[in-house]
Amino acid sequence: MDVGGFRTTYRKIRNEVQKVIVGYEDITDQVLLAVFGGGHVLLEGAPGIGKTLLVKTLARSLDLRFARIQFTPDLMPADIVGTSVLMQAEDGHRHFAFQRGPVFSNILLADEINRATPKTQSALLEAMQEGSVTASGVHYQIEAPFFVLATQNPIEMEGTYPLPEAQLDRFLFKLRVRYPDAEAIVEILDRTTGAALPEAQMVADGDTVRAMQALAREVAVAAHLRLYVARIVEGTHPQSPQPTSMVKRYVRYGASPRGAQAILLAAKVRAVSEGRANVSAEDIRAMVLPALHHRILLGFEGEAEGIDPDDILKAVVAEVAELGPKPS
């Protein structure tokens, strides 16, 4: 796989998804960036706006094993990870065998993830971070690539369990899916209420996706841009040397180093998807909001005033100047 091949494949996948999904080009792009960056995505949006369809379409365009879990309050961790069941062999010998749960897939759709209890949610932690599962003391590796594409509904808060910070941090991106505009709704009606429903074609397999992921990590990042990322992440902390007024006032905890990793990984994928072998400052700026939105913990004042973390991040990006290379 070379840069040209990456770009071509990326565009093909994108086009296939766009055949089914109307609008949401930016969301589609960001989901793909997360996929090729090897990260997980949390899609947040009202019901019926196509979150699940987006994930299913993406899974269909990639020749990967797809699994879907509908999270409910009574969902148990074993329902996700799998469980050991007593098996009897032909010779009558009985033994426990591990029955793999839906997590053993390449693309896992965790629908309405915030409806499950924290215990069940945390069952995903190891899988998301390590790409492996431990059950009954046995360690099981999940075949790569492995993505968790979770959705959650921000409206119905009753009977939900907000994701803990630790788990939120494991998502590369948190994407907020907006309502489509009237034009997009008309297009949706045209596509979905006719006789023929559009369907995405498979354009890449698991090996291709793995190769693309590996290639994305090869993308070069100049020293001053690495510093730029670090300064942006540092700027989200109220304890930083020169925090912006919004950060100082509304933020309780800033983004973690994992946030910096997320920015840079996604920026690399963005760069290579545009046919470049180097990250630019523009790539970094484009990735700040989706990568850090869910990593900023607002303080009391921020919560009380309903401050949008995106506004804080925009202020940070505007404040943190892109430093040029140091004269050498």
């Binding site: 993308v219 001053h224 760069a271 072998a277 180097n278 040029g324 290379p325 050498s328």
Partner: protein, 520 residues
């Protein structure tokens, strides 16, 4: 390793960036300087300062040039900075900077070849001149605005002052000085015309011009006024040197020696009335001899008069006057009246020239004194003395030029024209006291003719010429209060002054103090 093409591109970019930085910095510095200059110009409305436009603009220009050149040399960016600059300006998406980092080994990637090729392709489309334009220079508008403001101010508002401010006070002082100077100039011009003094006439014209300039509504400012006065002063000095050279050339034939720029001898200046009288007398005698009907008695009387005049003739600067008088006497003895008359006429002419030179010298000296005093007053911000208490410059101008003997009527007329000169040490400032303050009604001493005296500046050298005063004394009885002074006190005072180191100028004060004790 970076390719030669990219290296060349970066070299060009570094040069252009250095120029750009130099120009921008220079414009900023020059604008700052002009802003300060303009602020200083505005301040002239209130504060009596002079802000010469030429200096402001020249300084801004010089600083601009120096900073541009220094900027080109010192503000040359590194390759990485130049690469970053090109990345930003040409939207190269950080390709150049990343490639440089790759070449320097700061990053490792399996896509190095692709990155280099991609960067090279992108760099080929870069036009460094278009990317890093030297224009527009930062702060260029501000710079132009400030230049226009400074020039406009100089043309339209320079010299204006706000009322009730120190600047207005200075302007009024300069205007008063100008009026005073013009008055002196007119007086000098009148005297120069009446006595045919060419050098004094020229200087009077200059003084009149400067005085007129100082009186203008928009005054030139203290420094410029001082500069103009200095020019006048220098011109007067040149005229004096010319005059003295001429005098020296006259005295050279007489075997006299004089200094390079020494003024005409004081004793000679003191003889001016006598010289004028002698010249007049010889002209009259010459006229009498020229008449055919002169009797032997007349001739013997004339010979007698000539024998009296001859020893009193000035010893220097009179040219051949003495020999011509001697020649006239010889011719008279020989009975050659006509030749004697011609010789006397020539001698009278010689004396007349000498008289003219002396008067020119005195006129120039008085003008110089007036200019000098004006300079001193302007420099110190001292108020201009009124016509009544006008100081020695005016007095010397009057007394110097018109030093011919006058009768009391003439003196009275002069007193009407010009105020009386104060005596030395009168008033609150030396030379500027008011007569009424100290002396009551003017006395005849002040109206009297004072002869000019000068003491050589070298200690122990030069002659001290006593002042000869023609006075009208105050009549009436003078009553002096008698106070008994204890001789013991006087002795104590004298002893005290002997013991203590009392400066000479204070001894009188100390003595008076002790004497005052005796009255208590």
């Amino acid at each position: 390793m970076i390719s030669k093409e990219i290296a060349r591109l970066l070299r060009g970019a570094r040069g252009r960036i250095a120029w750009k930085r130099g120009l921008d910095t220079a414009a900023l510095v020059a604008a700052g300087l002009l802003a300060v200059g303009f602020a200083a110009q505005l301040a002239t409305l209130i504060v009596p300062i002079t802000v010469p436009l030429i200096y402001v603009v020249a300084a801004a220009l010089a600083v601009w040039v120096v900073v541009v050149l220094a900027g080109c040399l010192l503000l040359r960016p590194s390759e990485r900075v130049a690469a970053h600059e090109l990345d930003l300006r040409c939207r190269l998406r950080d390709r150049l900077a990343t490639t440089l980092d790759l070449a320097a080994g700061r990053i490792t990637t399996g896509l190095g070849d692709y990155l280099r090729e991609d960067t090279l392709q992108a760099a080929r489309a870069v036009d460094v001149r278009a990317a890093i334009r030297l224009r527009p220079v930062l702060f260029a508008r501000q710079l132009l605005f400030l230049i226009a403001a400074v020039l406009l101010w100089e043309l339209a508002f320079s010299g204006l002052t706000l009322p009730y401010t120190p600047a207005r006070q200075t302007a009024m002082m300069l205007q008063a000085e100008g009026r005073q100077m013009q008055s002196i100039a007119e007086r000098l011009a009148r005297q120069a015309t009446s006595r045919s003094l060419p050098r004094t006439a020229e200087v009077a014209e200059d003084l009149k011009r400067v005085g007129g300039g100082l009186q203008a509504q928009r005054t030139p400012g203290r420094d410029r006024a001082m500069a103009e006065l200095q020019q006048i002063f220098d011109r007067i000095e040149r005229a004096q040197r010319g005059l003295r050279d001429e005098f020296r050339s006259r005295t050279r034939g007489e075997g006299q020696r004089g200094g390079g720029s020494d003024p005409l001898p004081l004793d000679l200046q003191a003889q001016l009335p006598e010289i004028n009288a002698q010249s007049q007398q010889m002209r009259e005698l010459s006229r009498q001899l020229a008449q055919e009907n002169a009797t032997p008695d007349d001739i013997s009387r004339i010979a007698r008069v000539l024998s009296q005049i001859e020893p009193n003739l000035p010893t220097r600067g009179a040219g051949d006057a003495r020999s011509r008088v001697q020649d006239a006497r010889r011719k008279l003895q020989q009975g050659d009246q006509k030749s004697a008359s011609q010789a006397l006429g020539s001698a009278s002419q010689d004396l007349s020239i000498l008289s003219q030179m002396i008067e020119d010298e005195q006129g120039l000296s008085s003008a110089q004194g007036a200019v000098n005093q004006s300079q001193g007053r302007i420099a110190s911000g001292e108020p201009v003395p009124t016509e009544e208490d006008h100081g020695s410059g005016l007095a010397s101008a009057r007394s110097g030029v018109s030093s011919a003997p006058r009768d009391s009527g003439q003196a009275q007329q002069t007193q009407d024209d010009t105020p009386n000169a104060p005596g030395p040490g009168q008033g609150s400032l030396p030379g500027h006291g008011q007569i009424q303050d100290k002396l009551g009604a003017p006395t005849g001493r002040l109206a009297g003719q004072r002869k000019r005296q000068q003491i050589s500046s070298t200690e122990g050298q030069g002659a001290v010429v006593p002042v000869e005063m023609q006075l009208r004394g105050r009549t009436g009885q003078v009553t002096v209060a008698v106070r008994a002074i204890d001789p013991v006190i006087v002795r104590q005072a004298d002893e005290s002054m002997q013991r203590q180191r009392v400066p000479a100028s204070y001894r009188e004060i100390v003595r008076n103090y002790f004497l005052s004790l005796s009255g208590k």
